[in-house]
């Protein structure tokens, strides 16, 4: 009898511990964030933290793989759709949903939820920023409960990527909310998602707690929960990280990286970033926007100013090794990036010679060049919230002074800066952009098509038919090699035009507590691998042992 009981006990133990990963399960990661999430439903999200949390709560049909290649479908990994097929004319993709995929309320994910996901983006009352990214999508149709077909107006290399931007939403939860009412609905604050983590609580402006979903179709995450804790001041956020109150801070301000790297309990991740900075010239006169800018409509002046700026020195002085000189309106981490492009070099003599040849010869007592009674002077707007941009502006100012160009720096409140940027009220701007693995953002920021909506996304009013054609061809080419060649042509055009001085490309530096085992780090979205993180059992803290929320 005793032997039988022992055998039963052993069997029970074996059945409990049968999952190889169960030893690694458990633990809590506390992520310090500077601001609360703006929304948790993807079609409503505009801010960074809203995106982070919503991408943990909701799975896409497929996810970009580690290569960050957005062309075609080869670089994608299955998520809610476990397989897909293309129509013979390549104008439709049929996604077959994973039969085990469920919403957090237990209802299965169905094809009609894919259709509803598209409806939520298209609903004009929701004013979804995803709309512009999926212009090519014409419709989504539920072929049956498990098959959804997404149709396109034209063939494009990033068709599949566009389809994955449509995140399925549970129709049975949100379907009854009237058009335009989603943003204000209580249901939007308590999302029912499909991701490996579900929402437990959202204390506005304070914290957001997510818990692991047991029995998730992709497997239960190792961590029991993820807690986002808001620290509005970066200094106190970093202090909390050092004190061990939080486990993650991303991105780290350059000034504290050395200090944090020396902390024995922290590990610093340094990965390619998706932010690039530039000094853009306004092609129109800010005082009379229908007229060309008196200085910058002249390509020669723009090129001369670019020639006079030693970008390497600026980047090294401001960022040390935390940034590299930008090559154009893209970052090196994008698959379409090209590091062999011909750049406008730093050449002060050539800058002087070019300005002389353009007639800017006479210099006043102040050393500033003059032509026909006009001085070669302009102002650059800089947000006072960015110390790095301020410092870069000061260095550029000194370098330009050496060739007789007077640049005044206008520092201003961030909201004012954004207002001036969107309205095109500036001579030059020290701006920055966060791009994505896809090069499609080029069209929104630099193509003349963006000017049609008032130009707030191309506030510098850069217009070049050659650039537009190359971008269109590059984004439209089905062959990846052809696409890259066309985009190269576009990049070269905008560099040669000196539409901006391409200054820096930031590296993304983050700190994570050493007790976490982090198997992979995706540079554009590190949080997407959180489900695979685990806590070293030997280094668990009391908060790792706390029970997960019901």
């Amino acid at each position: 009898m005793r032997r039988l009981l022992l055998s039963v006990a052993l069997l029970l133990l074996a059945s409990c511990g049968g999952d190889a990963g169960s030893e690694r399960n458990g633990g809590t990661v506390v992520i310090g964030i500077q601001a609360d999430a703006d929304a948790l439903l993807m079609p409503l999200v505009d801010g960074v933290y809203g995106r982070v949390v919503s991408e943990l709560l909701f799975d896409r049909l497929a996810e970009i793989g580690p290569g960050l290649n957005t062309v075609g479908d080869a670089g994608f990994e299955p998520r809610l759709a476990h397989r897909w097929s293309w129509s013979p004319d390549s104008l439709a993709i049929t996604f077959e949903l994973d039969p085990d995929a469920k919403w957090h309320d237990g209802a299965p994910v169905r094809a009609e939820d894919v259709v509803f996901g598209l409806q939520a983006i298209r609903d004009s009352g929701n004013v979804s920023s995803l709309n512009a990214s999926i212009e090519n999508v014409t419709s989504a149709v539920a072929l049956d409960s498990m098959h959804a077909e997404i149709r396109f107006a034209a063939r494009a290399p990033e068709q599949f990527y566009m389809a994955t931007l449509i995140v399925p939403l549970p129709r049975h939860v949100y379907g009854s909310i009237p058009s335009g009412g989603l943003r204000a609905s209580e249901a939007a604050r308590a999302p029912v998602g499909s991701g490996r983590f579900r929402l437990v609580r959202w204390e506005s402006g304070v914290r957001l707690e997510l818990a692991a979903v047991d029995g998730h179709y992709r497997g239960r995450p190792h961590l029991d929960r993820v807690l986002f804790s808001v620290s509005p001041e970066v200094a106190t956020g970093i202090a909390r990280l050092k004190a061990g109150e939080t486990d993650v801070w991303d991105p780290l301000p350059p000034a504290v990286i050395g200090d944090l790297a020396a902390e024995p309990h922290l590990r610093v991740f340094n990965s390619p970033g998706f932010d690039y900075g530039f000094l853009a010239f306004n092609f129109r006169d800010p005082r009379a926007p229908t007229r060309p800018h008196p200085l910058f409509s002249d390509r020669g002046v723009r090129r001369a100013i670019t020639l006079a700026v030693d970008r390497s020195t600026v980047v090294r002085a401001v960022f040390d090794t935390l940034a590299v000189v930008a090559l154009g309106p893209f970052v090196r981490a994008q698959a379409s990036a090209d590091s062999t492009l011909r750049q406008i070099p730093y050449d002060r003599d050539a800058a002087n010679a070019l300005l002389d040849s353009l007639g800017w010869r006479d210099r006043g007592a102040d050393g500033v060049r003059r032509r026909d009674g006009r001085t070669l002077a302009f102002s650059v707007i800089v947000p006072s919230t960015s110390r790095t941009r301020e410092r870069a502006a000061v260095l550029i100012q000194e370098q330009l002074r050496a060739v007789g160009v007077a640049m005044t720096i206008e520092r201003m409140d961030f909201a004012v800066f954004l207002g001036r940027q969107t309205s095109g009220n500036f001579d030059a701007i020290l701006g920055g952009t966060r791009t994505t693995p896809s090069p499609s953002g080029l069209r929104g920021s630099w193509a003349s098509a963006a000017l049609q909506g008032g130009g707030s996304q191309n506030p510098w009013h850069y217009e070049s038919a050659a650039f537009d054609d190359a971008v269109k061809a590059g984004l439209g080419a089905m062959d990846p090699i052809e696409s890259k060649a066309q985009l190269r042509r576009a990049y070269q055009q905008i560099i040669d035009d000196a539409a901006a001085i391409w200054l820096y490309e930031l590296r993304n530096v983050s700190a994570v507590h050493r007790r976490f085992v982090v198997p992979s780090w995706r540079p554009d979205a590190w949080w997407l691998t959180l489900g695979d993180w685990s806590v070293d059992p030997a280094q668990r803290l009391p908060r790792d042992a706390a029970p997960a929320a019901p």
Binding site: D36, S129, S231, K242, S423, T433, T436, G444, S456, Q457
Partner: protein, 320 residues
């Protein structure tokens, strides 16, 4: 007395209306676009921003927006905070209790401490100890609140680990009485920051007020009658010297609100401070309007309460 209170309330209502109207105009006239914050995204178009402006009514003339705002406030509706995705009233209802807890504690500790310290300084006169305390309070007063807050965060919280660095509650706060103790633990540093400022301010006024009555006839008479010194101070001198300090309380309250904004930011205290700063930075007009309305109401109420307290402490005022 009732007439005084009603008159003060009437004046207060006018002040609130003026402050809120001025703020309404200023925030809209300030450069900046409420929907430009999404600029970092390459796919946000001008058309989308225009649509958002239309949805929230920011495309209408300022005068029309003002009339709508006043009408809504009269109906008890403060509007929708687009930066927080919730009704303004709901945002404020969550932010006010933490601020009241913080400011109430700071005022109580700082006020009582300041009266005690100031009375001691004044009564003891010019000694080495009182001079040292006076200089310390001067240093505290000269220091911006956020510097004091950062010093406290770096020392007792970060270096010595005695207190949590930020927040009002631990992320995994226990329920019940342990939860209350957890909140009090978090309250110590932010409340101490503000209380030190209040204490220093009150102490300086209290000291001067006590010095003014130390040689007063009623004090000398009490001494001549053989009344013990501590009783003279507590029963006679202090009550007479309280009037200027109570008057100060009326001014202290609005000053404290300004300081609380910064202290709340440093300690990530989830009160009105964070709400107001975020609302201004993001040009969340309805939330700015609601916050200013509430703050100005609080200031007016604080002033009225201070007037009533002064009247209580000084019978001459009551009669006049």
């Amino acid at each position: 007395m009732i007439r005084v209170v009603l008159s003060r309330l009437g004046q207060g209502a006018t002040i609130v209306a003026l402050v809120v109207s001025g703020c309404f105009a200023l925030i809209r006239l300030a450069p900046g676009d409420p929907f430009a914050v999404s600029y970092v995204q390459e796919n946000v178009t001008a058309e989308m921003r225009d649509r958002m402006r239309r949805i929230y009514g920011f495309d209408r003339p300022i005068a029309e927006q003002y009339v709508l705002f006043v009408r809504n406030v009269a109906r008890g509706e403060l509007g929708w905070s687009f930066s927080r995705g919730r009704p303004v009233a709901q945002v404020l209802a969550e932010a006010v209790p933490p601020t009241l807890l913080l400011m109430g504690t700071a005022l109580l500790l700082g006020g009582v401490g300041g009266v005690a310290v100031g009375a001691w300084q004044g009564w003891r006169g010019d000694t080495r100890k009182t001079r040292i305390v006076g200089r310390v309070s001067l240093v505290i007063l000269s220091m911006p609140e956020f510097v004091l807050a950062l010093l406290l965060a770096l020392g007792p919280a970060l270096a010595w680990g005695l207190f949590p660095v930020t927040g009002m509650q631990s992320d995994f706060a226990p329920p019940g009485i342990a939860g209350v103790l957890d909140v009090l633990h978090h309250l110590v540093l932010p409340a101490l920051t503000l209380a030190l400022v209040v204490c220093a301010m009150v102490a300086r006024h209290q000291r001067r007020a006590i010095l003014a009555v130390t040689d007063a006839d009623f004090v000398r008479a009490a001494r001549a009658k053989g009344v013990p010194e501590h009783r003279i101070l507590l029963r006679h001198a202090l009550r007479n010297a309280l009037v200027p300090v109570l008057t100060l309380a009326g001014v202290l309250f609005p000053a404290l609100i300004g300081g609380a904004v910064l202290v709340e930011r440093v300690f990530a205290w989830p009160g009105m401070g964070s709400v107001v700063v975020d609302a201004v930075v993001r040009r969340d007009y309805p939330l700015v309007g609601g916050s200013v309305l509430l703050s100005s109401l609080a200031v007016v109420m604080g002033t009225v309460l201070a007037d009533i307290a002064v009247a209580w402490a000084d019978p001459r005022r009551r009669q006049s």
